[in-house]
Symmetry: D2
Subunit: 360 residues, 4 copies
């Protein structure tokens, strides 16, 4: 279904070319300060047309809050938010009406539903993530107020270019200062070039987003199916174009032995003598539950399916045809992805924060 979360629950709706896209946030605790400008700030990080590195679709993506807030505070009732679709150009899709674009959802939607809104990507469009980002902005505010937890994400890799980033220290300002949202001062500019080149070549690039959550309370996550790592994985793999998720040592850690991989406990001397681990191969969770170390994970994004180059495909009548270049394409969605990944991480953490409250 179109709902995510158990106690902090969002329902998104809207096609890329219907009237609007939006989200209903249910389960938000009451009396949380809610400033619409912080929601708009996150949407601005996600919206198209930010720079020449992204899709030229022009959308201001201005959010409206329709319920759930009173005199600047949440009521504890559902918060409904929407963004109108303004730069939808249905006619630009006329030639796609009968085609299945390679590696898009056209074919599977048509098979599943027997109908699809061919004027754009429908629910498979990245516009669907607007609701996630708006809801995530509220989740971030809850994390900030309740536990001082912060989620951050940045571009770790684009195509074959990999950045060096200190996940424990990086700041939002450093990420936003980079036009590709890669806070590595050496590799970031190279990524800009690489994206420009892909755009000129009518091609697209993939990459990896890395995300860290800092100051996470111990005890979030459930032992079995709703492990924190499982819910994070689902959150990330529910995003368009994602092909992989790894936490802590990830796939590389499979080449270590147990004695190398285990994270030794020690006591960090302070007034409250906190138990910590010397290494963090676990990525901040053990037994599916947060252990108080930073949660660190990566998400793989395939290169965007929309490209300008001609491609072989078939139409709905089963004829093999050539799909010619479409008017506008986004050479690398990674640039806009950090806001989305942060939002999804915040949603998962907030949900588990509320679940943990119910237990204690």
């Amino acid at each position: 279904m179109n709902t995510f979360g158990h106690l902090f629950r969002i329902t998104t709706w809207g096609e890329s070319h219907g009237g609007a896209v939006g989200v209903v946030v249910d389960g938000c605790p009451p009396q949380i300060d809610l400033d619409i400008s912080t929601i708009q700030f996150e949407l601005d990080r996600r919206r198209p047309g930010q720079s020449h590195l992204t899709t030229p679709r022009q959308e201001s993506d201005t959010v409206e809050i329709l319920s759930g807030v009173f005199e600047g505070k949440t009521l504890g009732t559902p918060i409904s938010m929407l963004v109108w679709n303004k730069d939808a150009r249905p006619s630009a899709y006329d030639h796609l009406k009968d085609l299945y674009r390679p590696s898009h959802a056209d074919f599977t939607y048509q098979q599943k539903y027997g109908i699809r809104n061919w004027q754009g990507g429908g629910r498979a469009s990245a516009r669907e993530t607007i609701g996630r980002v708006a809801a995530g902005a509220i989740a971030k505010q809850i994390l900030r107020e309740v536990s001082g937890t912060e989620t951050l994400a940045y571009v770790k890799q684009i195509h074959t270019l990999e950045a060096e980033v200190d996940a424990d220290m990086v700041t939002l300002e450093e990420i936003e200062a980079s036009p590709v949202r890669c806070p590595d001062p050496i590799v970031g500019p190279k990524m800009v070039e690489r994206i420009d080149q892909a755009r000129r070549e009518q091609d697209s690039l993939g990459g990896v987003i890395e995300s860290v959550a800092r100051n996470v309370p111990v005890g979030l996550g459930e032992p079995v199916f709703d492990k924190l790592k499982a819910d994070l994985a689902k959150a990330m793999m529910s995003l368009p174009a994602t092909m992989g998720f790894q936490i802590g040592s990830g796939f590389e850690g499979t080449a270590m032995t147990g004695s190398e991989h285990n994270d030794p406990f020690y006591v960090e001397k302070s007034e409250t003598d906190r138990i910590r681990t010397r290494t963090n191969n676990s990525g901040g969770t053990q037994g599916g539950i947060s252990n108080g170390e930073n949660i660190l994970f990566q998400v793989a994004f395939k290169p965007t399916a929309t490209i300008g180059k001609p491609q072989q495909t078939v139409d709905m009548q089963g004829n093999e045809v050539t799909l010619e270049a479409s008017g506008r394409h986004d050479p690398c969605v990674l640039v806009r992805a950090p806001a989305i990944v942060e939002a999804m991480a915040a949603l998962v953490l907030t949900d588990h924060l509320l679940r943990q409250r119910a237990k204690s």
Copy 2:
């Protein structure tokens, strides 16, 4: 919570050292042929003590069906199954009562609940997966009867040894013929040696399980949060010791361009002229929905946390102590993991098969 699935739903219960472990399967369609021996077959693939390559804990893991089946057929009512814990040795854990074993769930459970069953791993034990495997055996039977779909999994990598396997052709017999469940005749035997070595060194190894689902109907999965890849990711990352999930081209695919990565459609000429893709970088899903190609994914398992070597850790009183070798350990859980991964894949596919039925 301890429930997984929306329409085909399982609830597992049981600690490794309580009386028993089990599962309730809800939403199973009626009139499915159910042979207890096929369930036992899957449990036998998972159980400890199969060979010297696994934990020496001796458990026959004999399953009992307590409800939901009548005269060899499912009733459509909940199927309750249990396995008694027989070789639980609580006294073997006495010295662990106050310790936090590195990279185990001891610390996080104690912090989350303020109590834990220290006589074993509790819910974090791999014994919890017994219920998943038993339920998965039923899901496999449904897939077989309803859509002819098959899920298979095998060891793709152990430590630094990587196997070559043809995912489209490999058979269950080939997998089971290998003592490490790696159907590569060259690399498989090397893996046996490597595991033996690790056992002698009181250490443990991680690796990668690869899984394929063949003959999957087009149209399984939901567009947004419940994408097939998202539910598979959650299923796999909800398993103990998993650190990563990737589907199709996965992390490697991030270094491709869109024109390289897109899977071109073509028409496979036959009586029914099926639309297929020439490559399968998508791993069998597009827009989160199965496209009829084989679903192919990998799961990273960290090396088992239980090792024989002494380790530094802390106790509940905050003292730094040395954890001495425990009596028995499993040098590589990968050997027993294929049955578990197959089961989880079957559960996800069955759930979406039923969900798709409701739509059409």
Copy 3:
């Protein structure tokens, strides 16, 4: 939470005095014909200001569909609908800011959330039911197309006046022809008088809505917790002001013996020889599952809490005060309730219709 249903699922949002109220409908099958005028028709039956018998609040309650529909057909994606609040008069509530109105939700909301939108009833307002009615109109359309099932509701009793209605034969036209939606030509006009009298006396009246579902497929409902009667009861008792639910013989049936109450089966001779029951004390379900007979139930509504007479109450500071007459009140919500009861019944039946499909 603010979500109802398992496979056909609605999420309502909105306060009576926020910007708008609305609903997201998830799980609607694709390719259903959807005519906005049928949705508006149901909202018009529910809206205030229809006649002097209801609240004088003036709201056109014009619905907008923002997603999920394409070229007159459902896409299978979420359908988002909203209605703007136009005649909200927040200043009319100024004197209520610190008061707890008797038998309203002011006190419990304030205690639960520590905050409330005191400019009206917030989520407790009957305006919340707009989303239910709009969603119910879609459910009715599905029932019509898929199984030919019809849900109807009408006023059975107001205050002490009880109507005679043949539930098996009554039509929508007969119900709508009555200004109180009571299709009894003798008692209906008396109800009009009684309501007029209550309005003049600044008082309010309660009553009973009776509802019938006809042409219901056999097999809807789940054996245990999600019995059809249980889900209907929850649906009805989730409406504002409802105090009771009964199905079939209801409370009166408790004075019968088993031999009187049991519904004997017989075979209705026809081409398909249908098994039926001679009586319908069961109200159309047995073992929680529909048996093909008409589903018949009643819902008790208390007299509306808002009255014009002065009342004793307390304020938030704990002072006992007199609540003076408010400007406008609705002497009997029963008149507008049939559309709401029908909608909820349609939502429950549609949800179970889809659930049943998944099984077969």
Copy 4:
């Protein structure tokens, strides 16, 4: 499905004539004292064969706890409990294999599933409630420890005999002292006679259970769909044989005016100056949320469908046949119902208690 509850969640399983019946309780807070004897006590109140007033089926209904408890305390993990079926007499049902018993679930199960366990009532049997009562005993313990809340239920009416009971003062001891669980010393003995008479006449009786919850915290329940009254209604109407639910003034209250029905607030002078209502027509909830007054509701039970008298019915082949007397029948299930109603009320209240915790 076979699961009830959102945060405190039970899943029941088992047919009346399969191996066992049981329940998995998920979401139980950790560190709750759990004494198996209190669970057994509740099961003993529910079990058949307590006296000549109930079914002669002999079942000790001895509960086993298989998980989730360690050293007398809950672990926070799922609690699995089961009761073996001992006095199942499948052969006693041979003559029913092809028959549809009137007002039983035989016909609807067969139509829904195409298969049924005809050796007894399957999931429709009252034995299914064993799991509810066992889980409810745990819920009661949580309510006792956490909020001092108590749920009680008793027989209010059998056939035409109605008792006078002071719901605010009645005690468990008074209820249990009556062989029919009716604490009215005048009417209770008459009920015994009436039941004896029904048994001699091979007939059965229905009636009404009344239930009260005392010392309920203010703020339990959700404003819209999950109102406390809605969840209680669903809980009660999910029980076998229930035909109606009413809370507070119920159906009788529909004949009052608003000025008569509204519950005036006042301040109960004490150290903490509690806001209360002078009357309790609301039955302890307003706007769907508990207001701190006693929660009071009634549940209508139809006369048991199993009777000894011959009845007309049809068989699976569509022949009209006479169903002869079965060997044993329970003339009035009301006697055993109070434990079940209390359990369901406790489950609902506990679920909302945990949900409320998550908010604050």
